[in-house]
Amino acid sequence: MMRSFCVPRWDFRVYDGPRVDEFQSMSELLDVRGLTVDLPTARGWVRPVNEVSLRIGAGESLGLVGESGSGKTMMALSLMGLLPPGARVSGEAILSPANSAPENLAELDEARWRRLRGLDVAMIFQEPMTSLNPVMRVGDQIAEAIAAHFPNTNKERINYWVLEALRLAAVPEPSVRAGQFPHQLSGGLRQRVMIAMAIAAGVSDSEDEAPTLELRKPGIPLTKPRLLIADEPTTALDVTVQKQILELLDGLRRRLGLGLLFITHDLGVVARVADRVAVMYAGRIVEQGRVGDVLRTPRHPYTQGLIAASPTLERGRLSPIPGIVPQLTELPPGCSFEPRCPVRMPECRLAVPELRDAGHHHVARCILVGNANEVALKQ
């Protein structure tokens, strides 16, 4: 009996799900417009998220890239309603689950958040050990996540969905693992448990659909697409485990039609999991486009610098970006990247550049984009 659990039912590595375009034509999941977050600090208000606009379709994966202090984590927390107390949010973040009314995440009250969080929006974090309760069996923790949204469901039914969620997260021997404590699991397994917990309530919400998930044909997403936010989920993991987790997330979003917001500082990881990428610097998106376009032909000097500073297996090509990420309390008047920029000009200090068209679905916040001398100046 136990043996049958050892092999996950879906092998996501070979699963060739629907392409992004199919999903995009289907539905838009998240539409963020001009989202701004202000935080009170000892040194006055700072703005870690500044007029951010982005979209994620069902089944689509958007990579959000930035260094520490870029605002990428605050961005994620604002989409989860988990900002620190006192934070002020303005702008819009419209989440449109397919069969319920759109919600503006920027102005939900806590009661609404409690219904949405974990069901329509879920998040996984960098260090699974600190997010899991160390004195509670992981199965019970997942059950808690489901019961929070379906309080009237009986225990057997919930347990069924717990195992189903673990299986979806490709946890081997789910019934054994469900009875274990977090410290008994390896880092990779813990992250799989976190993923299972994040999707658990969502997959359970299909009781009135097909009897079990396995009867659903590949490629047909849940009728109610959901947003999964992953904040550096593989940073603490070894590369071989990282690879497995990335494959799992990639398979899940295609399989379940999840919209994935993948936050990372690692461009190599982005290249592997994202359809599109948004590069954040000092609270603003400085470049956005399809992942191949942005990484092959970056148009913002910061993106170019980040690529040049990423170690590869080839020696000698490394060139760092001088200086450090600016403090949010001491941002330069114009372009935030100007003090570190190799191609800065006096005009850069005058005003924050707008996002300029840099190609098909590709924008960059640099006044050189579209300039006739762009290529010559960046040499």
Binding site: D238, V239, A309, L313, P320
Partner: protein
């Protein structure tokens, strides 16, 4: 040319228990030589024993057996006093620039402390110019001397750690994951700084990392470690581009690569 060589036999590591069967062998009979001026990299995943190995090199963890020959002398046979004298030749750079600096000491004291210990005859006034010189060399300004670690960013703190390691002009630097806690753009700065300092101060590096791309930037030779043993050891180019061992190939293929422009 001087040769550093280090050998271990049966090194039980930190998890040694009373019963022989329960023993966990963190580092298992590892032998290698490091030649002066080279960068010897040890790569492996978490739990492979690479950090234990690094710390044993400096006798921060006592090996259970084997030999560490440094310039012809067996470090394990040294008395405590002799070892202290030897330590100035071998310094360590740590992973976490937040945890490895005393938050209550000024940067000038942190960097100058090794001088105060190893050259107690020097007066404070004599130490100061050397402290300043090394701080400036690693790219910090003079006003850093009187400031505290928390006032600095991660990259700057790592520079402070490097300055402290270098002030005694050591021959060997053991760097344990020196850039893995840093942002990409800052990590690249630190890697290039380490590369410059190596030729300038004629340093020998033992570079411990989980990341093959990071190691590729500096290493002359690479050892791939797994389960307390080296599964592959060879010239950097060879290991990176013509790996012999299955595990090395697995590690290489798991590295997320950027698309080629």
């Amino acid at each position: 040319m001087r040769k550093l060589s280090k050998k271990y036999n049966r090194s039980g590591g930190p998890f040694k228990r009373a019963s022989e069967q329960e023993q966990f062998i963190a580092v298992d009979h590892v032998s290698f030589e490091v030649t002066q001026g080279e960068t010897f990299a040890v790569v492996g995943e978490s739990g492979c024993g690479k950090t234990t190995l690094a710390r044993m090199l400096l006798r921060l963890i006592e090996p259970d057996g084997g030999q560490i020959l440094f310039a012809g002398r067996d470090l394990l046979a040294l008395s405590a006093a002799e070892l202290r004298a030897h330590r100035r030749e071998m310094q360590m750079i740590f992973q976490d620039p937040f945890a490895s600096l005393d938050p209550r000491m000024r940067v000038g004291e942190i960097v100058g402390e090794p001088l105060a210990i190893h050259e107690p005859k020097l007066s404070k006034a004599e130490r100061a110019p050397r402290t300043l010189a090394i701080l400036e060399r690693v790219g910090l300004r003079a006003d850093a001397l009187r400031r505290y670690p928390h006032e600095f960013s991660g990259g700057q703190r790592q520079r402070i750690g490097i300055a402290r390691a270098l002030i005694l002009r050591p021959k060997l630097i053991v760097a344990d994951e020196p850039v893995s806690a840093l942002d990409v753009s800052v990590g690249a700065q630190v890697l290039l700084l380490l590369r410059e300092l190596q030729s300038e101060f004629n340093l020998t590096y033992v570079f411990i990392s989980h990341s093959l791309p990071v190691v590729a930037q500096l290493a002359t030779r690479i050892a791939v470690m797994r389960g307390g043993k080296f599964v592959e050891l060879g010239e950097a180019e060879q290991v990176l581009h013509q790996p012999a061992h299955e595990y090395t190939r697995e590690l290489l293929s798991a590295v997320p690569a950027l698309p080629v422009a």
